[in-house]
Amino acid sequence: MPAASAIHTLIVDDQQSMRSLIRTSLQQIGFREFREAADGEAGLREMIGRPAHLVISDFNMPKLDGLGLLRAVRAHPPTAGAAFIMLTGRADRELVQRAVQFGVNNYLVKPFTVAQLKDKLEGVFGPLA
């Protein structure tokens, strides 16, 4: 059973209030290690500089969107193994299918509850301690 506190997470969203909300939600689940980026390009720089175990990324972002970030993370061997959860503003079958094609581990539709986020995380990591 992995310890949530040992999972290093990169939160990527262009809205500061959403990043803060995700961070607070993760803290409630037991996560302790976070970094943040405000768009896909900045997220990719963070990942290349120091890979995280988990990326939680918005889809709609300037410069590089969530799908672009996902593709870039998967294409770069040191980051390719990171877990990747995509946040979307609406349930979009085509978007989810493309994300699956590019190797997303799970997705979550906003606005989400802490319990829903935990379910998605446990779908990737198994039960979290």
Binding site: T24, A91, R93
Partner: protein, 179 residues
């Protein structure tokens, strides 16, 4: 020669809704009690819009329902402005509503107004005007391309304070099971 004003295309923005346009003839209207409407535009791109939200009961911080729903209501308006050609650094907002209703035990309007102001501060979006708090309801007219806004009090304040309507359930991505 008589000057004839261009006709408006009037669109009402109800609670839980938002709308973005680049059509200068569009006039967005709404009636607010304790709800708040954010009127947002990019004056350079000539796009703008309005949302209309009422936070569910709960704390506006932490990861409670109020903060989750509020952040989402704001995000969809901001994202649609950006998709329509707006740039985040040029966005400017007017906030209206958050009134204290005459029969309210709890000042829901205050919580809505506080949330909206904090959102603009957190996101670095210019707060260029509007009218928050006060007593009673108000009718808002907003021309999203020009940024012009008008407000007048609503006599029947109760008509402007609909009971909280839960945001529509988010439909999951059909039968697509991933994991």
């Amino acid at each position: 020669m008589a000057v004839v004003a261009a006709p408006h295309r009037r669109i009402n923005v109800g609670q839980g809704e938002h709308l973005v346009t680049d059509d200068p003839s569009v006039l967005l209207t709404t009636i607010l009690g304790s709800c708040v409407a954010m009127c947002l535009r990019d004056p350079v791109a000539g796009v703008g819009g309005m949302n209309h939200f009422l936070l569910p009961e709960g704390e506006g911080d932490g990861a409670g329902a109020a903060r989750r729903y509020g952040a989402y209501a704001m995000e969809v308006l901001v994202n649609d402005c950006l998709k329509a050609g707006g740039r985040r650094e040029r966005l400017e907002a007017k906030l209206f509503g958050g009134g204290r209703m005459f029969d309210a035990l709890r000042d829901v309007g205050q919580a809505n107004a506080d949330f909206a102001e904090r959102f603009l501060r957190d996101e670095g979006i210019a707060h260029v005007g509007g009218s928050l708090r006060g007593l009673g309801g108000r009718r808002i007219q907003y021309w999203p391309v020009s940024g012009r806004a008008m407000q007048r009090p609503v006599a029947d304040a109760m008509a402007a304070t609909p009971a909280f309507r839960q945001p529509p359930p988010v439909v999951d991505a059909g039968a697509l099971e991933l994991f």
